[in-house]
């Protein structure tokens, strides 16, 4: 039964003209194609209605990261992303200070001394909260030579006064990082040092923050409590087929079905062993490989086994799997 509410975000909205599909090498991050369930659409709408971050949980390859890009496309908002790693600090999402460039300027003979704000590089949250102050690196007006202007990474892509930010794989960060983001994600504001100033999002036009986690590390309760939380479940056979049709069209249904059955079989075996199971991303890779290499649903079992081993099973070395 369809959920009954007034949608701010409509999953069936058309992608605006001009958003072009990129080449599909590697992970697909263009966000052109996304198959929504009603629950995900509602989660996005609740996050928009409450101006709270949307924390998206779920297994690897289930479409957590590509959700943000697709939402931005359909809303026509600017889009920023930052993939978190073990060396990411919370401040990297706000701003970075390019001390190496400042040192180079300061130590090169005869070079003009610039004010420190020139070396502030706005991060994705700054651009999303207040692109005007980010462009001027925190100054109220452009400096004399207009040399301090920063370039908006989303400028020209979509000229909207609102933004979607993807903070991808927050669980990869050191445990302190989510705690250090409580104020920026909860109150949509943060402080900068050069000049001392508080950067705030426009209350009437707050950005949509989408944060993903693979649950590698547990997130602090205080962080989770500030978020709208949704879980992307493992896709069913029907959902896999729907996704395949959305990405590749209706012409190879037999192939999609056979690969979906293979995927679910391999996934069940992997899960029984406690290994990470293949998901939608591997399924799409397998379809792309089969289409490109003209491997059909009618091929022999040996060929399917090889495809399965290469793309779906991905066996670990014995030593690695013991970790």
């Amino acid at each position: 039964m369809a959920l009954d509410y007034k949608r701010i975000f409509d999953k069936d909205a058309a992608i605006p003209a001009g958003a072009e599909q990129r080449a599909t090498a590697g992970d697909r991050r263009d966000g052109i194609v996304y198959v929504y369930g009603e629950d995900i659409e509602l989660a996005v709408n609740v996050a928009l209605a409450t101006a709270r971050p949307l924390l998206v949980r779920g297994p690897s390859g289930s479409g957590k990261s590509s959700l943000a890009q697709n939402v931005a496309l359909k809303l026509g908002w600017r889009y920023y992303e930052r993939v978190i790693s073990s060396i990411t600090e919370a401040r990297d999402l706000l701003w970075r200070f390019d001390s190496v460039r400042q040192l180079a300027d300061a130590t090169s003979g005869g070079a003009k001394q610039y004010p420190p704000n020139r070396y502030l590089d706005p991060g994705p949250l700054w651009w999303a909260f207040s692109s005007e102050t980010a462009e001027l690196r925190g100054l109220d007006e452009p400096d004399d030579e207009n040399v301090s202007r920063a370039e908006d990474p989303a400028k020209g892509v979509r000229n909207s006064d609102r933004a979607v930010v993807l903070i991808d794989e927050i669980d990869k960060a050191d445990p302190d990082v989510p705690n250090n983001l409580l104020v920026p994600i909860g109150s949509l504001q943060f402080d900068i040092d050069f000049p001392e100033k508080t950067i705030r999002a426009d209350e009437k036009k707050p950005p949509l923050l989408i944060i993903t986690t693979n649950e590698e590390r547990e997130l602090p309760a205080a962080f989770v409590r500030r978020c709208v939380v949704t879980v992307l479940e493992k896709p069913s056979r029907e959902k896999l087929l729907e996704i395949a049709r959305a990405h590749f069209g209706e012409s190879k249904i037999g192939l999609y079905e056979r690969l979906a059955d293979y995927l679910l079989e391999v996934a069940a075996a992997k899960e029984a062993k406690g290994d990470i199971a293949p998901s939608t991303a591997e399924y799409l890779d397998a379809i792309a490989a089969c289409r490109r290499l003209s491997i059909k649903a009618s091929h022999r079992k040996e060929e399917w086994n090889q495809i399965s081993r290469l793309i779906l099973e991905k066996p670990q070395l014995p030593e690695a799997s013991s970790r």
Binding site: L103, D174, P175, L188, E218, R225, S322
Partner: protein
């Protein structure tokens, strides 16, 4: 716009902005915001006074059920708001992602696996476990140029031949976690499983190598149920975490106690590999072998352990 956790105003705003009119949508929305709502018929049961039902038919025949009275329509957001519960499910993890393989193996190995599980009170306070483990398992890593120091040097026109770098405390190196399965640690197997799960939660499942040993690690490690191998230290700088009694209990009860000199030998291997050793020991500090205090960080594994004490103990080594 200072805001902390999601609370009732968020729920009211969502219900209002999205103009939610049906119960299913409202209930789903409540779950998304960590405020699950009860079914309406349960509400009715809760609200009913606890009176004796005099209409019970003792003849064995089923009586006609009471007609179900549909509740009167009302703005759904008021209904939801009135049913907000204090318990939040949002801190719950996804069940299938929750239990780590290492913990599962540990549970299987436990001699208690066929016995009913009694309530378990952890040795550490749950509220501070994350902070304690962050403090215990963090090590120094280079975090980029220390701009403040560098600029100060430049301003003073002091020469420097290398850029001053920031040193950060981080858990990014992961950990090697060694579980003592000697007889003396048998009363603490569930505590080991509990703390193992926490360590995995805090520093990540891919970052933790879990193995067990009896006696002392240099006697060999057990990986899972069947595999064994000789001890090898982890990559340089990776903390080695011991959940052990350092032979304290064995020394008084069993013949084959790990002697302090064996632990000293192990500490020497770790030191040469450049790996700090942190031991969680469930015994009072006056029973810790004196000679081991110099070569490893020993933490008293009980409810008096705090993040501050942990950080101080780690920093003193």
């Amino acid at each position: 716009m200072r805001r902390s956790s999601i609370f009732i105003a968020d729920l009211a705003a969502a219900l209002d902005v999205l103009d939610v009119r049906d119960r299913d949508t409202a209930a789903t929305l409540g779950v998304l915001l960590g405020m699950p709502v009860e079914e309406r018929n349960e509400v009715a049961v809760e609200a009913a006074p606890p009176v004796l039902d005099e209409t019970i038919d003792v003849s064995g025949e089923l009586s006609e059920p009471e007609p179900i009275i549909e509740p009167q329509p009302q703005p759904s957001y008021r209904y939801i708001a009135s049913r907000v519960q204090s318990a939040s499910p949002m801190t719950e993890e996804i069940p299938e992602l929750r239990l780590q393989r290492a913990t599962a193996q540990l549970a299987l190995e436990s001699s208690e696996r066929d016995e009913p599980q009694l309530p378990h009170t952890p040795l550490l306070r749950v509220s501070s476990t994350r902070a304690i483990l962050s403090a215990a398992l963090s090590s120094d890593v280079i975090g980029g140029v220390d701009a403040t120091r560098a600029v100060r040097l430049v301003v003073r026109r002091e020469p420097f031949d290398r850029l001053p770098m920031k040193v950060l405390r981080s858990v990014r190196r992961g950990a090697q976690l060694l579980l003592d399965k000697s007889a003396g640690m048998a009363p603490f197997h569930r505590d080991q499983a509990w703390l193992t799960e926490w360590i995995v939660r805090v520093i990540g499942r891919q970052q933790v190598e879990v193995a067990s040993f009896t006696h002392a690690p240099l006697h060999g490690l057990r990986l899972g149920l069947k595999r064994r191998r000789a001890y090898r230290p982890p990559p340089r700088g990776t903390p080695i975490v011991l959940l052990t009694d350092l032979g304290i209990a064995d020394a008084s009860s069993f013949d084959e106690a790990a002697r302090p000199d064996e632990w000293l030998k192990f500490a020497g291997v770790a030191r040469r590999a450049g790996c700090p050793v942190i031991a969680f020991v469930p015994y009072a500090s006056d029973r810790w072998p004196r000679e081991l205090r110099r070569v490893m960080t020993i933490l008293r594994w009980d409810r008096r352990l705090t993040a501050g004490r942990t950080a101080k103990a780690v920093a003193s080594k």
